[in-house]
């Protein structure tokens, strides 16, 4: 096979930084192959992508050593618009890439740059909208598309230019599970063609279908190989900030032979080798829900956006108790965030009531509510403004009138709880995304609200930072804070939330102990969700545990005797 992309001892450091972003990267990707580039955040995945079409070093400048060839063109020597003939790239922030009035014109933009005549453009636009499954939306305003549709449009608009190489930087980040499913199946379809695919992702489950995996750590190419070689080494990929495959991890912990990459393979393996006796799911531990004091309550709450014609929320009756750990699940547009914004009074119900500690939200003074309910927004950059972490964290308590010893103590405790002690004088803008996320949490925590709502707290974080964030929330919950997490990451709900609320089209579809909600795969499917591989295995095997460790304990305690070892 001929090589499509060649890295030849590439090293790169961004301007004004000391640590290199990439160090001595060498390797080849053959034509028509699909390479998955994986690594922790800051490992150099995006830099690697941008080096293929010359954005590094032509747009993002710095010290550049070595060479990258794509389809015979040297990336550093040609301008980025010239490289567009060989390489199409879908950047991480898909929102920022779409800027045309409608879908059709967005698709046309690259083709106009290629100076195609109108008839040829029309043909390509229709052909590639079909590929990405958006042909019905030809005239739609791009701003009205869902996240997943926007991402598919971004991919389609690059595909239409027919580049021999297609690079996609984290195409499934920040997209709801259904959108993610569409994009992964699109990638599967794209690889059957004569096109070199390079995709970065944080999720091992998405990498199973690749031809090869490149594993990056701290700017170095740590390993490359087939998925069966790389993904089976749980400790290696975990050291790169990637959550190991549940199937591999379970088989390793249980000392079972075999290295299945998928749930189906794992089930086949278990059956063929007789690793488990066939069993009926019975006597599951039903986790008991918390029945502490009521802290949040909605009564017949409905909400209609000022410009909307249909209700964003319909007749929501919900009670949340003090000390609960709740996950709110559902597709984009299902109403999770709209409902959560009622909890701290950002939105007012159109009809019905929102009660905090039995009092109507409206009856609270402006400075009272933030002490009861804190809300951490999805993107920490939407709130960070101060020159130091200390000032940032003290903003909330100060504005609410705290000072002196109380203020100092609260800030110290908030920094401690978020693992940011010693960061007081650091510039928050120079921290990484995981740390900025923690600054945002600390700045809410410093007010000591009884309830903390977090909108997608793990988006954009790698596995290590996701674990850090969730362990921190677990500690806060143990300290008595009520935690409400809005999330698309199923494993987070499974492993941490005691209660899960499933939403669809502005209504609550299912509400109960997480272990029960995730046993009901039909209901999850109705909300276009699916459990993680681990929980799918658990459900098939009829187990009660919700985490890998508990599952291993449960299995070992049952003294299973495999027939053939």
């Amino acid at each position: 096979m001929t090589s499509s992309i060649v890295f030849d001892h590439l090293s790169f450091s961004y301007q004004n930084t000391t640590a290199p972003a990439l160090q001595d990267i060498s390797g080849e990707m053959s034509r028509g192959s699909f390479t998955m580039v994986m690594g922790h955040s800051g490992a150099g995945k995006s830099t690697l992508c941008c080096a293929i079409n010359g954005l590094v070093p032509r747009f993002l400048r710095g010290d550049y050593v070595g060479r990258v060839m794509a389809e015979g063109m040297e990336a550093g020597k040609n301008s980025v618009p010239d490289m567009a003939r060989a390489v199409g790239i879908v950047l991480q922030d898909f929102e920022a890439q779409l800027f045309s009035t409608n879908v059709e014109l967005e698709m046309a933009f690259g083709l106009e740059n290629q100076c195609l005549p109108k008839a040829a453009m029309e043909e390509r636009i229709h052909a590639y909208l079909r590929v990405v499954g958006l042909e019905e939306l030809l005239r739609r305003d791009t701003a009205t598309l869902s996240g997943g549709q926007k991402q598919r449009l971004a991919i389609g608009s690059v595909l239409a230019m027919e580049p021999p190489v297609l690079v996609m930087d984290e195409p499934t980040t920040d997209i709801d599970p259904e959108g993610r499913h569409h994009i992964l199946s699109l990638i599967r379809r794209l690889r059957t063609q004569e096109r070199t695919l390079v995709v970065t992702d944080l999720d091992a489950e998405a990498a199973v279908q690749a031809d090869q995996i490149w594993l990056l750590r701290d700017g170095q190419l740590l390993a490359k190989g087939r998925p069966a070689e790389i993904l089976t080494d749980s400790s290696l990929i975990e050291s790169c900030g990637i959550r190991p495959l549940a199937t591999i991890a379970l088989f390793q912990e249980m000392n079972w032979p075999g290295q299945p990459l998928t749930v189906d393979a794992a089930l086949a393996e278990i059956e063929n080798q007789g690793l488990l006796r066939p069993r009926r799911p019975e006597g599951r531990n039903i986790s008991v829900l918390n029945h502490g004091k009521v802290i949040l309550e909605t009564r017949n709450l409905s909400y209609q956006y000022p410009a909307g014609s249909t209700n964003a929320l319909n007749d929501i009756d919900l009670i949340i108790h003090e000390g609960d750990f709740v996950a709110m699940l559902g597709q984009n547009g299902s109403g999770k965030t709209t409902l959560a914004k009622h909890f701290n009074g950002l939105l007012k119900p159109t009809t019905g009531y929102m009660l905090v500690r039995g009092r109507r939200v409206n009856s609270y003074r402006r400075d009272e509510l933030p002490r009861e309910v804190g809300y951490v927004f999805q993107n920490p950059d939407h709130q960070i403004f101060a020159p130091t972490v200390g000032e940032e964290v003290s903003f909330g308590p100060r504005i609410l009138g705290m000072d002196g010893k109380t203020l100092e103590r609260n800030i110290a405790e908030a920094l401690d709880a978020t693992g940011l002690s010693g960061f007081e004088d650091k510039n928050p803008f120079l921290l990484n995304r995981g740390e900025r996320q923690r600054v945002a949490v600390a700045s809410i925590l410093a007010v000591k609200p009884a309830v903390i709502i977090l909108d997608e707290p793990t988006t954009g974080l790698d596995y290590v930072h996701q674990l850090d964030t969730m362990e921190m929330l677990k500690r806060l919950n143990q300290l008595g804070h009520t935690i409400i997490v809005i999330t698309h990451a199923m494993w987070i709900a499974e492993a941490y939330a005691r209660r899960s609320i499933l939403m669809k089209e502005g209504r609550i579809l299912l509400d109960g102990p997480t272990s029960e909600v995730f046993s009901d795969e039909t209901m999850l499917a109705a909300a276009s969700l699916a459990p993680s591989d681990l929980i799918r295995l658990r459900n098939r095997l009829g187990l009660a545990a919700m985490t890998l460790n508990d599952m291993v304990k449960e299995l070992k305690s049952e003294a299973v005797s495999p027939r053939s070892f």
């Binding site: 409608n102 950059d381 909330g396």
Partner: protein, 264 residues
């Protein structure tokens, strides 16, 4: 908050050549400058509103009703203090308000509203790409036209980010309604810095995406949308020119529509 102005409808106004619409809006601007009597300008505003109705786009104006009312009220309240008229209605410590200055203020308020409405009429019936295309065909250099169109395109995006940032800071206790002047300075940074940073990040990404799709401002490119000039375009431009000529005649020869002479 959705600040996209384009209203996708299939009316004859939408189908006009963008150059006709740009030219037409400029003609309306000049017509507005012909008079300073509120009744005359109210007539022009009424015609613009009628065109809005024909374009089925009144909802775009409705979106900006607060801005329009604000502009109007400010003009009406402030102008009278800066203009001298004959018929004094009120005098107080050297400040005087006259019948003429009041009417002039009213006229200026209407004129400003008409300006903004005419501009919105263009944005409501013309896609961004069409405006860029029209500007280029009118001889504006490509980078300038593109920058202008991009600015119009980014306004709603930044407004969206701004709304999220306001919500995030209000959740932390930021009180936007406080009347304390020091408080007002204090709340400037929590809003402006995140908005500025997200705008920088966004435009940087956009520039990278544009270049990666082979865009360069100085290179030739084809256009997916090719506006056609038809008889209707000439009809519109011809009528507007006739109207302008008639208005100039009324003002210059007949001295109609003047409250204070010697002023626009």
């Amino acid at each position: 908050m959705n600040l996209t102005f384009y209203n996708d409808r299939a009316t004859w106004l939408h189908r006009l050549d963008p150059r006709t619409k740009i030219g037409g809006v400029l003609l309306i601007f000049v017509v507005c400058l012909c008079f300073n009597h509120p009744l005359f300008i109210a007539g022009i505003l009424a015609s613009v509103l009628a065109i809005f109705t024909a374009a089925k786009s009144l909802k775009v104006l409705w979106k900006l009703r607060f801005l329009l009312v604000l502009l109007f009220v400010f003009s009406v309240v402030l102008w009278p203090f800066f203009i001298k008229g004959k018929t004094i209605l009120l005098e107080w410590h050297g400040l005087e308000v006259s019948r003429e200055s009041l009417l002039y203020g009213l006229a200026m308020g209407l004129r400003l509203t008409t300006f903004v409405s005419a501009g919105l009429l263009l944005l409501a019936t013309t896609k961004n790409e069409e405006i860029t295309n029209g500007l280029i065909r009118l001889g504006i250099p490509y980078p300038v036209a593109f920058a202008l169109a991009t600015a119009i395109r980014l306004a709603p995006t930044f407004a969206d980010a701004g709304a999220t940032i306001v919500q995030a800071q209000v959740s932390r206790g930021l009180d936007l309604d406080s009347k304390n002047i020091f408080g007002r300075f204090k709340r400037f940074a929590p809003l402006s810095i995140p908005i500025f940073i997200s705008a920088m990040r966004y435009t940087n990404f956009l520039a990278m995406a544009l270049e990666s799709k082979g865009f360069r401002p100085d290179a030739p490119r084809t256009s997916y949308y090719e506006p056609q000039t038809t008889g209707r375009d000439w009809l519109v431009l011809g009528s507007l020119t006739l109207i302008l000529a008639a208005c100039l005649y009324m003002r210059v020869a007949l001295h109609w529509g003047i409250i204070i002479s010697g002023r626009l």
